[in-house]
């Protein structure tokens, strides 16, 4: 368990460095939902190639890690209706709120943005209640 914290912290530093590069070089906030959403609904065509390159790097480096170190298990629930509902909620929710864990969480909290902090409080609340209800009360996950 102790190794998990160390890997978590080291990985976290890398995520923060990625966000720092994106801000200081590209002049942008590194928000995964904003980048994906801008591609999906065509609202960010001006930065389309930049967004696609970001997503390419995001998918390709873990793929390379998998080829070298072996395939990790994501332990995603095999119940596909649950996966679909969760995906719809994550997609619609992050776009409504204009941000997710990376944009509001990492980039927002680090500059003490009130919006980022409020968003983080509410998605943690939603997540905690979701696990409580669907795991402990209903038992589907």
């Amino acid at each position: 368990m102790q190794a998990d914290w160390i890997w978590g912290f080291a990985g976290g530093i890398m995520i923060g460095l990625a966000a720092a590069i994106f801000l200081l070089v590209n002049g942008r906030i590194m928000g995964a939902s904003g980048i994906i959403g801008g591609v999906v609904d065509g609202s960010d065509r001006a930065r389309g190639s930049e967004n696609l390159m970001f997503l390419l790097g995001l998918a390709a480096v873990p793929a390379a890690a998998m080829l070298i170190f072996g395939r990790p298990d994501t332990h995603l629930t095999p119940i596909l209706p649950v996966v679909v509902v969760a995906g719809l909620l994550v997609g619609a929710g992050t776009r409504l709120a204009n941000g997710c864990t990376s944009g509001h969480g990492v980039c927002g909290i680090s500059r003490l943005s009130l919006r980022g902090i409020v968003a983080t409080v509410f998605y943690l609340l939603g997540g905690g209640l979701s696990v409580l209800i669907f795991r402990h009360l209903i038992g589907v996950i």
């Binding site: 990985g11 990625a18 590069i21 790097g57 909290i109």
Partner: protein
């Protein structure tokens, strides 16, 4: 050109960080949210680790006119806490807890997430596509 290269580098580093920190493992995310079960603190270390370099980056950016590629920094949004921010974040959290995936890790685990991972990604994109229509309805209700 420079923008594309550094975007690729940032995306790759983000992916590596998510992969190594275990954030593509849904049990670690759900474990963090499961305060009434066997609580897993890993995510707090990930978030804390990520906030540190970014807090420095914001201070550096405050001393710069533009980014190193000459791009204007994003204007901070008005500090307004609207219903969309609160409702959207709550809905996102509910989905995040249900599957244990948020947008970044959903893309990062594309190569090894199997069918379920792809189904999640497609559903998430559909949700994103439908969000503007949902926003119009919520705005009408709030007005």
């Amino acid at each position: 050109m420079g923008r594309n290269i550094f975007s690729l580098i940032a995306g790759g580093l983000f992916g590596l960080g998510l992969h190594l920190s275990g954030m593509t493992d849904t049990t670690k995310v759900q474990g963090w949210l499961d305060i009434f079960g066997s609580w897993d603190p890993t995510l707090a270390f990930v978030l804390g680790g990520a906030i540190l370099p970014m807090a420095v980056a914001w201070r550096v950016a405050a001393r710069m006119q533009r980014s190193t590629l000459g791009i204007d920094f994003p204007v901070p949004p008005a500090p307004k806490i609207g219903h969309n921010l609160v409702i959207g974040s709550f809905l996102f959290g509910a989905g995040w807890g249900l599957a244990g995936l948020c947008p970044g890790p959903a893309v990062a685990s594309l190569s090894y997430g199997g069918t379920g991972g792809i189904v999640f990604l497609l559903a998430m994109m559909a949700g994103m596509y439908g969000a503007p229509a949902l926003r119009v309805r919520l705005d009408r209700l709030a007005a």
